[in-house]
Each structure stands twice: as structure tokens, then as C-alpha cells.
């Protein structure tokens, strides 16, 4: 309750369209202080967990963990999950959930690598493949959004249906084969790097930054938190709750399309097996990052930290040659530990 009280007072402010640009314009120092003050409290636990992980990594694997190359490997692996997690944060903040992200990624990757799409891409430009993936992802998101917002189907069910049918459609289109991306320039572009930083990581950074601005600095973001926190109050405050909800799913769909492109570049393939269990990874990352599953609260920084913790964990384990079963046990323990730590810190900060 104590968490939600200040939010309700924010809602009317969010609905005043004029307030948003003004706030964005003069947000230089206040953004930083808010970043450190507001979300950092909640995220401190995560940062500590990540630091501990890095210390363990350095202590056990030394230079192999600490090298610049390894850092890039971790970031590159985090990028795909990260992009979808940012989108997932929006949907969960808005009081929804999307179980179909993995299936949408699979369908987008398959659709964008069919013979027809690839032939067209060869004739025009590989951007055709990117647009196809985004279009398919966005369309799936739109269907989810319409079903949830206007069809009044529970998000869990609507997206569960999409999970099944999107992966099924992907299998039908690909005939359960792995479709190889033939366009070298596509792979060279997304697989390459700019001043030493992989393009995939740059995309992740841009998406995270845009997500942060969108959630914290725009009316869109405030509306999202408002409809997730208290949809009835949001409606009374004049927010078109249905439309906003639909937008959120489309946004996540687009993120899935982008993730599909990134996955295509990384694996050089499009296949119906892409994105398996991605929904769990992304929801876990968002929740560990402090996003409230019931909606109304969430931070992009937390989500990004959540993704990084998972990826770093796997990396440290692999460097130490730990077998998969042990990894899974440790992962479970660390997830709970991170959340507990985070709650303790948040509670202490609130009481002082």
C-alpha cells in the first residue's frame, strides 16, 4: 500500500500532456538524481549481487573472466534477452503479462528468413528482412493487445494461445527446418562492431536507453504505470486504458521482432526453435529487477541488471567448468538471494 500511495498522486500529472515535454526539457540534473535516488535504492541489491558475481568470476577465472573480450561476450549474450526484457517490463508495468515472446521471436525469425523474403532481400536490401521481422513481431503483438484490451481475454490466456499458435505457424512455415541466412552483408552488419563494441550490444544499449526515457520521461510511461497501478483510477483520470494496453503489447511485439533479427545475426539462422523459454528468462529478469508482477511499478535499470546477472552467472559457471545441474541449483538459490537482498535494502531505506 505504502508503495502505491504516491503513485496515485502522480497519475493526474501524467495525464496532463503539457507537463511531459516541460519535464523532459529541464531534466538534466534531476534525471541523474532521480536515477540515483529513486531506482538505485531498489537496484542496490542487484548491483551488489552483480559485483559479488564479478568478484567470484575474477577470483576463480582471473584474466579469462576479466578480459575485455569476455565482457563483450557477456553483453552480446545478454543483448537478445535484454531487448525483449525491456519490452516485457512495459507490459508487466501496465498490469499485463506476455507468455508468447519466445514464440513470436521464433515466428519472426522464420518469416524473415524464408526463401521468398531472402530472395526479395537479395534484390533490394537486407533491410527487407529486418522490416519483415519487425512487422511480424508487431502484428503478433497487436493481436495480443487487441485480445487483451478489447476482447477482455485474460493476458495469461491470450498470450498462451499466441505462444502455441505462433510457434506452430513458425514450424509450418519453416517445415521444421533450420533456415540459413544467406545474406553475408546482413550478418556482417549485425555481427560486426563499431569502435570495438558489437552492434548487438549497441542495439541493446539504445533500446534500454529509449525504454528508460519512454518509461520515466514521457506521458506514455506515466500512463503505463497508471493503468498498471490502478486501471479504474486511470480511466477516471481520462486515460484510454484499452488503447494504452494494446500499445504496450505492440511495443513488446516490436521488441521481439528486433530480438529475432539479432538472433538471426548471431546464429546465422531462422528456426522455429529460437527463443525457447525466453518468456521465463525475460519475466524473471524483469521481476528480479524489481518490476511488480501486479503492475504499476518497474524500472528499466533493474531489468537490465537482472538480465546481466543471469548472463554473467552462466558465463562464470562455464568458465569454471561447472556442470549444468549444479548450475541450475545455484541459479535458483541466487535468484532468491538477490530478491531477498533487494527487499531488505528497500525496507531499510524506507524505514530510515
Amino acid at each position: 500500500m505504502s508503495v502505491e500511495t504516491p503513485r496515485t498522486s502522480e497519475e493526474p500529472a501524467g495525464t496532463q500532456e503539457m507537463a511531459a515535454p516541460a519535464a523532459t526539457a529541464g531534466s538534466g540534473p534531476s534525471a541523474l538524481s532521480r536515477f540515483l535516488g529513486g531506482s538505485a535504492t531498489r537496484n542496490l541489491g542487484l548491483v551488489i549481487a552483480l559485483v559479488i558475481l564479478c568478484v567470484v568470476g575474477l577470483a576463480t577465472a582471473g584474466e579469462r573472466f576479466g578480459s575485455f573480450d569476455n565482457a563483450l561476450t557477456i553483453l552480446r549474450l545478454a543483448a537478445v534477452v535484454g531487448v525483449v526484457s525491456v519490452g516485457m517490463t512495459f507490459v508487466i508495468c501496465g498490469g499485463g503479462i506476455d507468455l508468447s515472446v519466445g514464440a513470436i521471436v521464433a515466428l519472426s525469425s522464420v518469416w524473415a528468413t524464408t526463401l521468398a523474403t531472402q530472395t526479395m532481400a537479395e534484390d533490394i536490401h537486407w533491410i527487407v528482412m529486418v522490416l519483415t521481422a519487425l512487422l511480424v513481431g508487431g502484428a503478433c503483438g497487436l493481436v495480443n493487445g487487441l485480445l487483451v484490451a478489447y476482447g477482455k481475454v485474460a493476458p495469461f490466456i491470450a498470450t498462451l494461445a499466441m505462444l502455441a499458435s505462433a510457434r506452430g505457424l513458425a514450424e509450418l512455415i519453416a517445415q521444421r527446418r533450420t533456415q540459413i541466412v544467406r545474406d553475408r552483408s546482413f550478418i556482417d552488419f549485425f555481427g560486426g562492431s563499431v569502435i570495438g563494441i558489437p552492434v548487438l550490444v549497441i542495439i541493446f544499449a539504445i533500446v534500454a536507453a529509449l525504454g528508460w526515457v519512454l518509461l520515466n520521461r514521457t506521458t506514455f510511461g506515466r500512463r503505463t504505470l497508471a493503468i498498471g497501478g490502478n486501471p479504474e483510477a486511470a480511466r477516471l483520470a481520462g486515460i484510454k486504458v484499452e488503447r494504452q494496453t494494446a500499445y504496450l503489447y505492440v511495443l513488446l511485439g516490436l521488441a521481439c521482432g528486433l530480438a529475432a533479427v539479432m538472433l538471426m545475426a548471431r546464429t546465422t539462422t531462422g528456426t522455429s526453435t529460437h527463443g525457447q523459454l525466453l518468456e521465463l528468462d525475460t519475466i524473471a529478469a524483469a521481476v528480479i529487477g524489481g518490476t511488480l508482477l501486479s503492475g504499476g511499478r518497474g524500472t528499466i535499470v533493474g531489468t537490465v541488471l537482472g538480465v546481466l546477472i543471469f548472463t554473467t552467472l552462466t558465463n562464470v559457471f562455464t568458465l569454471n567448468n561447472v556442470d549444468t545441474s549444479t548450475q541450475n541449483v545455484a541459479k535458483g538459490v541466487i535468484i532468491v538471494a538477490a530478491v531477498l537482498l533487494q527487499q531488505r535494502l528497500a525496507a531499510r531505506r524506507r524505514s530510515t
Partner: protein
């Protein structure tokens, strides 16, 4: 009170079920015994492919979400089509053990002559396969073994342990040929929880022992391209220099190869597993050292054997009257030297 009223009908039903099972068992054995005596005339070697009694064969396997499994299914279909005397009923592939149990139960109700079963999980399907056997239906177990020998008339398996041995032996040969001292050997396994993965790894380790080597780095993927890329990326970080890598599965191998390319690493000899068409093309191009075959034609062989069993014929190249109980297929190594010969067997993934 309430508990008693419920338990009585349950107990009655259970008793009835047992009676029914026993009864089914009794009736089912009679025709089988009768047929065996009359089958001697059909034992002649090459006439096996000639049309015989009409037989209905049910086929159930895991969802073909994987190139190798796709090849398994299509090869089984194709084989069944070759015989005019076979009516082939293929159930929709599923990865859900309880759904597959339901499919087998449907086959039992339909009174098919034989069931070719590639279980999602051998142990989980043992019970229902035993039920089918008791109902007088010939069960041919493919690839993933049941937990009891009574659940199948014949079991046909790829050799997972042998696959590991073949890969390990080949790795040892490389160590010797290249004169490597203290080589770094890495292994990229498939789904670690599956017995087949454990068998492959054990075979690999055992063969490596033969040349005093061990696996230095081991990671496990999930048979998908994405997971292959993921674990291989981390593996390359874990070991700055690798001499030999064995990857259990060529489907995930596409991702593994992508990870190699992304990291611009190719200092090692890359050995694959399963034998996809992609892998064979890489071998031809010199991007891959070798791959260990795991035949995708097992279910097709299963269909053939089921037909023979249902028609009471035997295998033409054996003196033995009956079809063997257990057949383990070979796991040969495909290299640049013999790739042309194996290319037709390579499955598109």
C-alpha cells in the same frame, strides 16, 4: 464414511481392470502362437519385400522440432509407403509423454497389428507399451529404450555410447597424428538430463582414456541452434586455446559454428555428431574435421521390422528364424575421405 463409499467402486474398477488385462493377455497370445507355426514357409530370404498379409502399423514419435527427428519421421513415412501391404497410421508428433501415452492407447483400441514407438521418454512410455504387448500388439521400440524388456518385441537403437567412443577414438587419432602434447579437448553436449547425452559423454571419456586424455572443458546445450551458439560463445571464453571440440549434435552445431565465426576462432579440429547435411557440406568445404553418424533411419528400420514381425517373417540375411530382440546400429565417422558416400544419408536440418 465418505472415504469408504469412494474406495469401494475404485477397488472394484481396479479389480475389473486387472481381470480385463489378464483376459486380453490370454486372448492375445493365442493368435500369435498359431501364426508362428505357419510362418516357416515365408522364411525364404529375398521374398521378404513381396506383398504379404495386410498389416496396420501405428507410429508415434516426439515432435519433429529438430532436424534429426524430422528426418526420422519422414524416413518412416517413406519406408511405409514402399509397401502395398502396410497401412501406416502416424500419430501427430508430441513432446508430451501423457499425450503420447494417449496415442498408444488409441492404437490399442484401434487394434493395430504393430506399433513403432520412439518415446519422448523411454521410462514414461514403458507402462503403456507393456499394455499394448499384453493386448497382443507387436511393439517395436526405437532409439530411446523402455525400462523393461517386456515392453517391446524388438528394440532398435542408435549407438549413443558408441557415438562417444567413435568421436573419442577419432580425437585420439588426431592427437597422435598431429603430435599434440597436452591438448585441450572440449565437449559440447546436448540436453544433459537425457540418458542418451550421458551415454555419449561416457563413451567419449572412455575412448579418450585410451590415449590418456580427458575432457578439459564441457558445456551442455539444448539441441537448438540458439542454445548451441550461447554455450559455445561462453566455452570459447573459458578456453583461450582449444585443440579438439566434439559437439554432440549437428543441429545445435549450426549455432556452434556461428559462435566460432563470431569469435573468429578456428584453431581447433571440430568434430560433430548425428550427421546432418549441413555438417557433411562443412566437411567437404574443410570447415569441419568429421562428424559421427547417428542414423536418422532408425524408425524406418523399425517400420520394416514391425512389418516382418506382423507377417511372421524373419530377417533375410540371418539364419535365425525370428527377428532379433535387439539391434544396435553402427556409429561410423564421416570425414573428408568418405563424405561423398554418406552425403545421401545426411538429413537437412
Amino acid at each position: 464414511m465418505i472415504r469408504r463409499t469412494i474406495s469401494r467402486p475404485v477397488r472394484a474398477a481396479a479389480a475389473l481392470g486387472v481381470v480385463a488385462l489378464v483376459a486380453a493377455g490370454c486372448t492375445s497370445n493365442t493368435p500369435e502362437a498359431a501364426d508362428t507355426t505357419s510362418s516357416d514357409s515365408q522364411r525364404a530370404g529375398s521374398s521378404n519385400d513381396d506383398p504379404g498379409d495386410k498389416v496396420t502399423i501405428g507410429f508415434s514419435g516426439p515432435a519433429a522440432d529438430h532436424g534429426w527427428l524430422g528426418a526420422i519421421n519422414s524416413a518412416a513415412q517413406a519406408e511405409a509407403k514402399k509397401f502395398s501391404d502396410v497401412e501406416f497410421k502416424a500419430a501427430e508428433g508430441t513432446n508430451d509423454a501423457s499425450q503420447q501415452i494417449a496415442q498408444v492407447e488409441t492404437f490399442i483400441n484401434d487394434k493395430v497389428d504393430a506399433i513403432v514407438l520412439l518415446p519422448t521418454d523411454g521410462a514414461a512410455l514403458t507402462e503403456v507399451a507393456t499394455k499394448a504387448m499384453n493386448a497382443g500388439i507387436i511393439v517395436v521400440n526405437v532409439d530411446r529404450e523402455f525400462s523393461t524388456p517386456f515392453a517391446a518385441r524388438t528394440t532398435i537403437l542408435g549407438d549413443n555410447y558408441g557415438m562417444g567412443v567413435s568421436a573419442g577414438t577419432y580425437a585420439c587419432k588426431l592427437v597422435k597424428d598431429k603430435n599434440l602434447t597436452n591438448p585441450v579437448i572440449a565437449e559440447i553436449a546436448g540436453i544433459d538430463a537425457l540418458p542418451l547425452t550421458q551415454d555419449r559423454s561416457k563413451g567419449f571419456a572412455d575412448a579418450l582414456k585410451g590415449c590418456n586424455q580427458t575432457v578439459d572443458n564441457r558445456v551442455a546445450a539444448e539441441f537448438t541452434v540458439e542454445s548451441g551458439e550461447k554455450v559455445a560463445s561462453n566455452l570459447l571464453q573459458a578456453a583461450p586455446k582449444i585443440d579438439i571440440i566434439w559437439n554432440h549434435d549437428d543441429d545445435q552445431g549450426v549455432g556452434v559454428m556461428a559462435a566460432f565465426d563470431n569469435a573468429k576462432r578456428n584453431e581447433f579440429a571440430f568434430i560433430g555428431g548425428a550427421g546432418s547435411a549441413n555438417a557433411m557440406r562443412w566437411i567437404k568445404e574443410g570447415k569441419m574435421e568429421a562428424t559421427v553418424l547417428y542414423p536418422p533411419t532408425q524408425a524406418a528400420d523399425g517400420v520394416r521390422l514391425a512389418r516382418l514381425l506382423a507377417q511372421d517373417k524373419s530377417m533375410s540375411d540371418l539364419v535365425q528364424v525370428a527377428v532379433p530382440r535387439r539391434i544396435v546400429l553402427d556409429a561410423p565417422v564421416v570425414t573428408k575421405d568418405n563424405v561423398e558416400e554418406y552425403l545421401p544419408l545426411g538429413f537437412e536440418s
